[in-house]
Symmetry: D2
Subunit: 292 residues, 4 copies
């Protein structure tokens, strides 16, 4: 057999470097460790994107190496799980730079469903699904940006319709007034330096505390009524959800440096409309602390 | 150039006929006529699936003919729009049998978004989006089953949580009590014979009348409060939506034969849960009329 | 607190029974056992739909019971995993009938990603993702239909374009001729009686053998070239994939009764088109055996 | 009736301004004008997101105004269509600032399918679907960034597998060698100043010229073979597609200022893998011109 040709390493004449070249939508089951947890690790089904940059003079990126890197880290987690999918993303990002000697930057993004224990108002134990996002951006020379995100579904009840329904109906203040309520998905993403740690479980709890009410898989009749009452005693716009999450982040993460970028996003599947309502803040911790 | 080979017409040795062979996800913009309407026709962006059966002894189906059939009917609609996407599906289905001499059955399915005029409680004119479904199944020999479906999004307010919140709160009956409410999508599909006509607009109106409230693109504050009040004065389970649609169908379509198959489905994006609630009835008109 | 009201059990006046009422899109992580496997069980992230019918005179179905049933079976699998997600569906379906005394039929559907060991042509070990489908339909009185399905992605190379490119180019028969090739997803679903067992791993292997070539996560250059050569030496229409799967099913499952319903479906993401090609056969084993 | 309360205008105590607040997923049918075209305008079904920022001291954004703004511009297009969906986005963005006196920035994003005439290698006329993206970012004080994007699906044939299959097979250079090929989606987005005009049709043609071959809805056998031959004579990595698009953009848009941001992205649904390959460049025109 003639020697196999490394077409990717051929010289490129077109003269453009590329920002990100790689693979997207790689599905893997990964054992992910949990910080200070009785369970040593949990299996997560992950969707992984992994890229490196490409210099102007090289024809192609060796993408099969990205799959080898992913498998190497996944196999390593079977033996010794890394804590948090953001750490898995960092491990993959570092190894990508090792394997692609021509690359200066690697980017890895991992998404996975996560099942977290919860308790209903009447004390019933449930397991609620949410989404985790882990990312890394590694630069040759050693700079690492590690990103952790959570996406949590809860419930919002509209303060505006509540106020105006009360006025039209002439409602007594004795009981909470009717309003439209709906599923809301809130996403929090924090771009951390390598040394800064955030527990996904804390972020999920924090978001659930900012809804009109968290939502639950099983609600027997009394629990269901209490969730409804709680939500109506605690009406929230999408704007309120985002601001409340921001406030709690500032309060909870006092140890974080000012240059950490925080994105908080709330999207509400309005029951009275066919479209969604949306609010977002993107800011650095320092800006949030000084209420800029 | 050597003669092109018709590989599809080669003899097949494997000995299995196929139920449906064809193309799926063909996107086309089609001018669709409206019955008794001032507007002669409206443009619809359609996703089309088109199949014929394949005899056991033939290697392949000539799928490019399906695309030619689709284009021929689409071009014909530019000159003389057919009334209803179900009629477009029938025209494609008939032509498929003409072009595939070996086929005994054709199946065509078309889906499109449809924008329908509506009016809010306070009289504001809006345009609301819903989905139309048109299908045909044509059999060589002339039998045609034409199917029309609509998918409409509205709002349901839960009767169970409402009753129990009232009991827990000790609410006065003077005002409607709080409950969870949410987006609901109701789908009605009717398998008609060729001669039976149903207007999509009638079906959409019928479904909107079965919700706790229809929903609207623009709701200024007073309209918003009235939609919320209406919904809470009219609580509905997914089961209620399906049964109410069935009742209205029986009342409205007295002229229809007993053997028409009706599917009614309601799916509710429960605001208090992360999963959906669902109800469905599949039955013949005759069964529905005798409440079987 | 006043007694909670069972609104669902109220008498319904509308007079329509419902075919299926329940919950859809419930996400759970389930430990699923493997038949004759060294691994005792694997965790699968499942999307579950669970329904029962509803009599004409009852207002609503008690949907929270469906969630309790799901959790009960999921918890049971932690202790003693059931073999195959179709067995999990049967366990849920039976328990649904226990918990809903008014129901005559339950339906459960579970879908999950599954990671299966594979080997490239040059012997490299990989893990390939596919989808499993498990269903049950349980009737009061004891009849159970258990359904197992697999969805596998592979590769097809078109025989027609290959033949005609060869003619236009005047190609030598020495080397395989060029043609368009693409991702193809083949779905096989078998409605089994309760006693009939099928191993998902066998069905997945069977489908992979019917492609122009299976596909792999990691292909270094020599493996990649061999996959391409294999695919071009083995061109397949979507029709060929379906017929080949049917033929292998008839050969492999000689022990199955004639009344088992088999659905085989192949969808090809045509590289030369923006739409997909599709072929399907739905038939009973008896029909397939007699080549009807 | 008591006066309706403007809850959104209430003073907010939480002290965080919000970056973007608004509505997402609004569906509308819009008449969009075409530059220098015989057709005056074409109907497009659009998905619209429309946001403004929110000051720290205001409780909520008046989102129903966003819907009024959308309807006002959509209605205006019925009378006098704007040229390009990016111009529709600008009109909406300007009106958003008029209606939200407290906002400093508006953001609008519109996506729509677009059907463009094309011609197969053998001269057959077809209509091919692609996607248009129009955006605006308007700042109080008058700065406007208008963005036009196109997303086009074509076909890539892999140069690496082709070279190595040729070596393994010992192929003659007389005929193009086999390789894997697949659907590829290329997205080009250009952030333009208000005065800079780009025709979507030109961008779509430009992308189609950078594929191994464009793809077509109808290909009779001779056309199909020629498309396959063309693709194999013109193999392209995802990296090649991006670089070729960049080169053509630099050549074609010589009149554009250096500070225009260009994003080019190519994603390939690899026929030999279950994951996709991806390449992207984000750069300013000035960087691209100097090959940085």
């Amino acid at each position: 057999m003639t020697a196999i040709c490394d077409v990717q390493s051929l010289k490129n004449e077109k003269g453009f470097s590329l920002t990100r070249v790689g693979v997207v939508g790689v599905r893997k089951i990964i054992q992910v460790g949990k910080p200070e947890s009785e369970e040593k690790s949990v299996p997560m089904i992950c969707s992984i994107d992994a890229y490196v940059d490409l210099p102007a003079d090289q024809k192609g990126s060796h993408m099969s190496r990205n799959l080898e890197v992913i498998d190497e880290v996944v196999d390593g987690c079977d033996d010794k799980p890394l804590v948090g999918i953001e750490s898995v993303a960092v491990a993959m990002g570092k190894t990508l730079l090792d394997k692609h000697s021509y690359a200066l930057v690697s980017n890895v993004s991992i998404e996975a469903e996560y099942f977290k224990e919860s308790v209903t108002p009447r004390g019933r134990r449930t397991t609620e699904v949410c989404k985790l996002i882990g990312k890394s951006k590694c630069t040759r020379g050693g700079k690492i940006v590690k990103t952790l995100g959570v996406q949590v579904t809860g419930m919002t009840a509209c303060p505006c319709a509540q106020e105006n329904a009360a006025r039209i109906l002439g409602c007594s203040k004795k009981w909470p007034t009717i309003t439209h309520n709906q599923r809301n998905t809130c996403t929090v993403v924090m771009e951390l330096g390598e040394g800064v740690e955030v527990r996904a479980d804390d972020l999920i709890d924090l978001v659930n505390d900012c809804y009109s009410s968290p939502t639950f898989g099983i609600l027997k009749r009394d629990d269901e009524a209490i969730v409804v009452i709680n939500a109506h005693n605690n009406p929230k716009f999408v704007e309120d959800v985002v601001r409340e999450v921001l406030r709690k982040i500032v309060e909870l993460y006092t140890y974080m440096p000012d240059d950490i970028v925080v994105t908080v996003r709330s999207e509400s599947e309005e029951s009275i409309h066919k479209h969604n309502a949306f609010a977002e803040r993107i800011a650095m911790m320092g800006e949030l602390r000084s209420r800029l």
